[in-house]
């Protein structure tokens, strides 16, 4: 599980101190994982201000529920799970007319997206990154969270399984579908193909 700044005492030590009302220790946990959680939220919701709000909610939830955290798992995995759930809640609330179940089923690939985008130009590195950011936002949420955790955050499938509570095989399928849709979208931007 990637971490922002692994300097000083490890997470388990900081969690133990936080449980003894040492707020400075939890402050160190925030500084260590803030960038990861905000980046994850940004890739999930596509809006920086919303991403920071969701990350704040995730940290507050973790702070209040710290006594329920089981020390046999990694704090970062637990925090990731809280952050992902906050993003899912936000996505459900922001999709009027679609119920919570929409996020809990695998959605069919949007094969029309590639045809809709036909800019005939070569892309610079920066443009590719920008286009990829936008294409990630167009992924179905289940593919998006799997793809972001795997390829943006660099999680292993075992870590993703612990965060999302989904089997590795299912996650591999979601990552595959996400990669396929993104490759088609980016390929459509390249007139040489």
């Amino acid at each position: 599980m990637p971490q922002d700044q692994q300097v000083g005492p490890d997470d388990a030590h900081l969690v133990a101190r936080s449980l003894k009302q040492d707020h400075e220790a939890f402050g160190q946990l925030i500084e260590r994982h803030a960038s990861t959680i905000v980046s994850l939220a940004y890739r999930m919701v596509g809006n920086r201000a919303e991403a920071e709000d969701l990350a704040q909610e995730a940290f507050l939830t973790a702070f209040k529920a710290l006594s329920t955290f089981r020390s046999d798992s990694k704090f970062s995995t637990w925090l990731y799970r809280i952050g992902v759930n906050k993003c899912k809640d936000w996505l459900r609330a922001k999709r009027p007319g679609k119920g919570p179940a929409d996020l809990d089923v695998d959605e069919a690939l949007d094969t029309h997206v590639a045809e809709m985008r036909t800019p005939e130009r070569l892309l610079s590195q920066q443009q590719v990154a920008q286009e990829l950011e936008q294409a990630i936002q167009r992924l179905p949420p289940l593919y998006r969270e799997a793809f972001v955790l795997k390829h943006v955050e660099g999680c292993s499938y075992e870590e993703m399984q612990a965060v999302l509570g989904v089997s590795s095989d299912t996650l591999k399928m979601r990552v595959y579908k996400g990669r396929l849709q993104l490759s088609r979208e980016l390929a459509a931007l390249d007139p040489t193909q």
């Binding site: 402050g27 960038s35 905000v38 507050l60 590719v128 990154a129 990829l132």
Partner: protein, 227 residues
């Protein structure tokens, strides 16, 4: 997902065994379309890994810290938290014995210094005393209060059978309005007494209910003390 797609996905997930990797690389070398599909997917993976991390704003940290750090408590809340905080009493046998000894000494000491029980008893036979009490002892005692109004006097004492007719033993105390009082403890019985004003003037108690001659031409006040 056909077999070629499956191979590409497994290659990207690093799931292929070494011999499978060789087979896969030979396939993409021989098939341009497959190679293009693989390269497109590789580009997605590579670009995703290069996406910048988002650095949280200063507002993010300040707001979050403000929400987590406890607000300063008022003096009443601090006092309340100290009083209501659950505490665990740790003890051992030596400490328990010491505490028991302290408790026993305290109780015994309390009984030792506690005054005897006092019972009020009225003595209706003599107006010379307005308050009478007795203590419960083997030989009962009655407290008698003597009162004399002498605003002009500088000192007043009482002499009688109960103090060997020595006025120096029982002075009266002056209170507001020139009232002189003394409370003395007497056994039940009949007593004669006189007030001595300024150490030289002897007078009988003007409030006494009874007087008697002293055999020298003067009169003593008489006090009957009964339970």
């Amino acid at each position: 997902m056909d077999e070629q797609e499956l191979l590409i996905q497994r290659f990207l997930d690093h799931d292929l065994a070494p011999d499978e990797r060789v087979t896969f690389l030979q396939m993409i070398d021989a098939d341009p379309a497959l190679r293009r599909s693989w390269l497109n997917l590789e580009m997605v993976v590579a670009e995703a890994g290069q996406l910048p991390r988002i650095t949280p704003s200063a507002r993010f940290y300040s707001e979050l810290r403000a929400k987590i750090e406890p607000r300063p408590l008022g003096w009443w809340e601090r006092l309340s938290s100290v009083v209501r905080a659950p505490r665990t009493l740790e003890w051992n046998l030596a400490g328990a014995i010491a505490a028991a000894c302290v408790a026993i000494v305290s109780v015994v000491g309390l009984f030792a210094v506690m005054p005897s029980r006092v019972v009020e008893v009225t003595v209706p036979t003599s107006p010379a005393h307005t308050i009478a009490t007795r203590t419960e002892q083997k030989e009962p005692k009655v407290f008698v209060r003597l009162i004399l109004l002498q605003p002009e006097a500088h000192s007043v004492s009482v002499a009688g059978d109960f103090n060997g007719w020595n006025p120096a033993r029982t002075p009266l105390e002056r209170s507001d309005g020139g009232m002189w009082t003394a409370t003395i403890s007497l056994n039940p019985g009949r007593y004669q007494y006189m007030f001595v004003i300024d150490g030289k003037e002897w007078i009988a108690d003007p409030l006494a209910a009874e007087e008697t001659t002293d055999g020298f031409g003067a009169h003593n006040a008489v006090l009957d003390v009964a339970i």
